[in-house]
Assembly symmetry: C2
Homo-oligomer: 732 residues x 2
């Protein structure tokens, strides 16, 4: 039926269905559309009004009638026959020859107006919107988005997510909104998007909630046409094949140079300095030697097999390498060289041509315009920065080179182990989704971290990220969040759908953990790779002092976590540990007790507590320096402090710290709850502390807000994961 | 007139004025109240309706009639005589014996409903509210507050501050709201609060904006009664007198102890280790010696004069010290001891008694329950942590000891100079406002930083902070933001006024710079004390690479700053500095150029640019380590790198960094614009770099978001300062 209506409209050169047609379509998709009927003349309208019961609404009908409200073609709240006749007269006068009849509806009353809609994003495809409607849609922007298809649970989450969701509860004498009707509307829009490809936008505004809670679509607009096609061609890459690039048995450096500062030298230095054990073949037409190694004039001269060709020669000379790679049997090219697609125009064409030739020759290209890759597990550091992060579980991909440099440098300094890193460059052939899939199937990777500026195919990014998120957390920082995202759109829904809103919606739906800033990426990698997931949002806090606990509690609550009151059982337990004047409150204040075994005891009492899902400790780690400084002060004041005091102090607290981390790890294993720490001072210690023999690690941050923010994101991910798993079990 | 109405209502035992009375009062204060009149019976109501013109509104009138809407006593949109009579009948039925007459009004139509109100906060006194009204007030919470008195400019800022202020512009065919009427309403409420003390709450909900932009108060509620009196007695302290406490010529340590770890030992150690040059007299009834110094049995035994008595003995023994202090002529007591007001009950009484006795004896008490004070300018470190921050311009007060410890420790590590620090403890006598005034008149102090959990007199805090903010920035972190802040209130206004909302409103109005977390306090201290204020929000960014610039731009825009496009003049200038392929965009990418003199040249081009108010540079500082690491890598790869390369590298970049900071300072002097940096890596360098001979300093943060956030707060403060000065000039 809807297809016929659309064909008819298209034949008539229209870009939208009439209001009556639109409602007919929506009704078929289970959306609670207001009852209505068409009347040919005023008298028929009056007859129908009597059937609905007064008051009624009368509208002018006609395929050429748009902007009805502004043109006075919508007459509300008509209470009797006289009102209807007068309204019909006014409408006829205003519409003139365009009038084809009247639409008559019962008057739907409701103080609560919402909006629902559909929009097709060039990157992410069909998107369903829900939010506060009426005059508030644009003014307040309280709307949420979801990619189709949408199940009922997801629709329910949309409803909960808007700021004004309180309006849907019982409200000033009005009944709660019939939630199932809203869910039906959103799921219906999703089905419509999936089944009718010619529909590009839908607006239901307002979706009125009556005093009795009934939900009614009072007005509807359906825009028809061709959906935008924003996707680019994709060369499928086998994740297992890509994995091999990170474990080359031998590499050729095409463009190797003895000149310090040049890329061709820097990569050579870094690969060797990093301890790479495979063969390294420098290649340069000039020949000669670099650091005592023979330089080959071209790849054909190389005696052995080559797994990976690393290319730093100018862009113009790169195409000629493809047949050489083919001849030599080099199947992978790491293309550092810039001057391709990022220049636009000719550069873009050169990139397309290169990719085509490479695909035909069976050569996979990583890049171009990349800062390189590294795999600390193989001591393979083929990157444009002298940085040697330790091997570990974090898979890292960056679309920006200098962001990659900084992240690796911070990771090294904070003790965050890297599984592999890749600067993905222009992603001419291997895209961010390919890396995602590679890290998905790699058993060493526990957490995937991405810095993303753009995606080539939003839908593909979404579905890949969702698939990976089911197995391990995917943490994303989006660069260019605030870039102008305006677009042409005929509907409210379209106008509200900025690029970053859609990107964020896709990420949330896919379970992706969104970071606000670069430092978050590191904190989240450390935590996700080192700790069990919290199973709820209740936090127990242990602190060395009051103000700090207060601040940590503030941040917890502001981030949506809970800091529950202590219950009698846990109070009784801590009564046996702390002196009688302790506060009996969460945060638990160690009341200045510096006895090294104390924090462990309190930690166990808290983590064992049924109403706690995670423990944050403040100031327990990093006390060594404080104690030693105080001994220094005593000595400087003329008191006789023997060296043994320093040594004992250091041993006591350093040992106690290690012991505390080991104990935390055991507690995490025993109770399956995460423990996060905050340093007492800025001793600049490493964030992550390995604990031998444990799947978990100790972690401590420089400030309470970083610990809390990290935990809050873990809670979100766990919640998503639980729902996603339930969904899979339901077969949805 | 209003006083008579209130007296009448009180006499009748009412807690509110009738709607008609309330509107009468509001009209006298210039608030655009809907026309209305009282009718004794339905017939009179019909006559009046004819005068106003239909449609009209009819309401039941009676001193005992409340919750009118819910009881069906409000009938809207009556279009003719028949409607009015039917409505009057229905109202009479529903009101029963409580009906005293009818209120009749023209029907005011408007899709845009706002709310305005008045509330008396126990801490901060009368508060005016403005926000989104109708059914959205509680559901969306889009309201702002201001302390009275309120001038027109401040009222205008309230209007701009709500999220839904767009609704006041021309909107979907409706005219812009008459802003002057809203201003008049808010200023009128403020005057009412100032002039009529018996009014405790006012609600104007809705304040309707008509399609023609007219503003009308359609409904009004005035609650009467006694205003809450939350203030506690205050002992005035002369700021110059308080200043002396930070420069004692001699101190007595009452409770001095040889036992390491005790407060009586720690303070002794820290004072001497800090290099204090005045006399230190240990006092302890046991006598003997500590570290070779004679211990006096009581203060009377001390041979010389004592400026400050530092007390660590148990609370029970403290009162006995007052007569001794008086006899010995010790005028100031730093009371470290806890066990007073913070315990409540008897402790509170003991504190009150102690303060009374001290006041009578002419002794000023700082504390009790404090971690101490320090003044690095006098090498006086009488604090419970072994920490020696350098002398500088930041005055720091903390209501929490461990927050103070952490802040001092971070300040020391980051090179942030401290003017003086005080743990203010229970503030029994000297309150946070006294410290504010002391730092106000102190010429060395450039920035005042406070950690506040509660105020004893909110109004006093507000007026003092506002006074100080006119001279120097006051930076505040509020602890306990999320503590339950519910309270009994009869109005919407009261219900919306949580403690933290009022505190934040007071701070914003007073020009206080609000910090979100402890680290912000340090960043803001560093920046405010080291840089000129920006005169606008346009930021030029210089970066070593793309992704970083993207992220910094995102954070700028999210924090309300602007990153303008480069204009031809500045492009032409940079064309002469960077290679031809530079991006010609802001952020300016140094395109990997490592030449040491380059950043200075770009910096000058940007800071001289008319459309830039501040410069942020990313990655220029901290390159030394990168260069040296890359030399290391080259050597490790077997290349012959001579030591002179390292030495040159270090000299080149270390020297270049110092030179760059010095140059930045000269640029800041020349152009009066701030320059903020971000390190390339986490070399853990100091945030603040002194520049000899300049009033300004170099600063660099660990991450872009910290630099941007800091700059955004500086912009806010400068804007406040400009308006505040304009206000003073106007004599407002």
């Amino acid at each position: 039926m809807e297809k016929k209506l659309i064909e008819k409209a298209k034949k008539e050169g229209r870009k939208a269905l009439t209001e009556a047609e639109a409602k007919q379509v929506l009704r078929r998709y289970g959306i609670p559309v207001v009852e209505e009927s068409v009347a040919a003349d005023p008298e028929e309208a009056v007859r129908q009004a009597h059937q609905y019961g007064f008051p009624v609404v009368l509208k002018g009908l006609g395929t050429r009638l748009t902007h009805k409200t502004e043109r006075g073609l919508v007459r509300l709240n008509l209470r009797n026959k006289r009102d209807v006749l007068a309204a019909a007269k006014a409408i006829a006068r205003s519409a003139g020859e365009d009038l084809e009849g009247y639409l008559i509806q019962p008057m739907i009353r409701g103080r609560r107006e919402f909006v629902a809609g559909l929009f097709c994003d060039p990157q992410f495809g069909p998107i369903v919107m829900f939010g506060l409607g009426g005059i508030f849609t644009e003014a307040l922007g309280d709307v949420v988005f979801r990619l189709t298809p949408l199940d009922e649970a997801e629709a329910g989450r949309m409803i909960d997510e808007i700021r004004s969701s309180k309006l849907l509860d019982a409200f000033r004498g009005d009944s709660p909104a019939r939630r199932e009707d809203i869910v039906r509307t959103l799921v219906g829009l999703s089905r419509l998007a999936e089944e009718v490809a010619d529909i590009t936008e839908v607006d239901i505004n307002p979706l009125v909630i009556g005093a009795d809670g009934r939900v009614t679509a009072v007005d509807a607009l359906i825009i028809i046409g061709d959906r935008p096609a924003g996707k680019t061609a994709h060369h499928p890459v086998d994740p297992r094949e890509l994995e091999k690039i990170f474990y080359p048995r031998s590499i050729a450096l095409i463009g190797a140079s003895p000149q310090i500062g040049k890329w061709g030298n820097m990569l050579f230095s870094n690969v060797l300095a990093g301890g790479y054990r495979g063969e390294v073949y420098p290649v340069n037409p000039k020949g000669g030697e670099i650091a005592g190694r023979k330089v080959y004039r071209n790849v054909m001269e190389i005696p052995g097999e080559v797994d990976l060709g690393v290319v730093t020669i100018p862009a113009a000379h790169v195409p000629a390498l493809i047949p050489e790679f083919k001849a030599k049997g080099i199947r992978h090219m790491l293309l550092i060289t810039s001057g391709f697609g990022e220049l636009g125009g000719e550069g873009r064409q050169a990139e397309t041509d290169l990719v085509k030739a490479a695909a035909e020759a069976g050569v996979t290209i990583l890049g171009p315009n990349t800062m390189g890759i590294c795999n600390p597990h193989a001591k393979f550091f083929c990157i444009g920065t002298s940085c040697w992060p330790q091997p570990g579980p974090v898979g890292l991909v960056s679309q920006s080179g200098n962001m990659g440099i900084q992240l690796l440098d911070f990771a090294e300094a904070e003790g965050i182990g890297i599984r592999a890193f890749c600067g993905s460059g222009n992603e001419a052939m291997i895209t961010i989704e390919d890396y995602l899939r590679t890290f998905e199937v790699d058993d060493i990777t526990k957490t995937v971290v991405l810095y993303v500026e753009s995606t080539k195919d939003g839908r593909r990014f979404y579905s890949t990220a969702r698939q990976v998120s089911r197995k391990k957390p995917v943490v994303v920082l989006k660069g260019g969040r605030t870039a102008a995202g305006s677009r042409a759109a005929a509907s409210h829904t379209g106008a509200m759908a900025s690029n970053i809103r859609i990107f964020n919606a896709a990420c949330r739906q896919a379970g992706v953990v969104l970071a606000d800033q670069p430092m978050d990426l590191l904190d989240l990698s450390a935590a996700f790779s080192s700790l069990p997931l919290p199973r709820g949002k209740r936090v127990a806090i242990m602190t060395l002092g009051g103000g700090w606990g207060v601040v940590a509690t503030d941040v917890c609550v502001e981030m949506g976590l809970e800091v529950p009151h202590l219950t009698p059982d846990v109070i009784a337990r801590i009564d046996g540990i702390l002196p009688p004047y302790w506060s009996r409150e969460n945060p638990v204040d160690l009341v200045g007790e510096f006895e090294p075994s104390l924090p462990g005891k309190i930690l166990e009492a808290l983590i064992a507590w049924d109403e706690c899902d995670a423990v944050i400790h403040l100031g327990v780690v990093g006390r060594t320096r404080m104690v030693l400084k105080s001994l220094d002060a005593a000595r400087a004041s003329g008191q006789a402090i023997e060296q043994v005091f320093y040594d004992e102090g250091r041993k006591l607290y350093d040992g106690a710290e290690e012991e505390f981390f080991a104990f935390s790890a055991r507690m995490m294993e025993k109770y399956g709850k995460p423990v996060l720490g905050v340093f007492l001072d800025d001793e600049k210690s490493k964030t992550v502390r390995e604990v031998e023999g444990s799947p978990y690690k100790g972690i401590a941050f420089l400030t309470p807000e970083r610990a809390v923010k990290t935990l809050a994101r873990m809670v979100d991910y766990e919640e998503w994961l639980r729902k996603e798993n339930a969904r899979s079990v339901d077969g949805a």
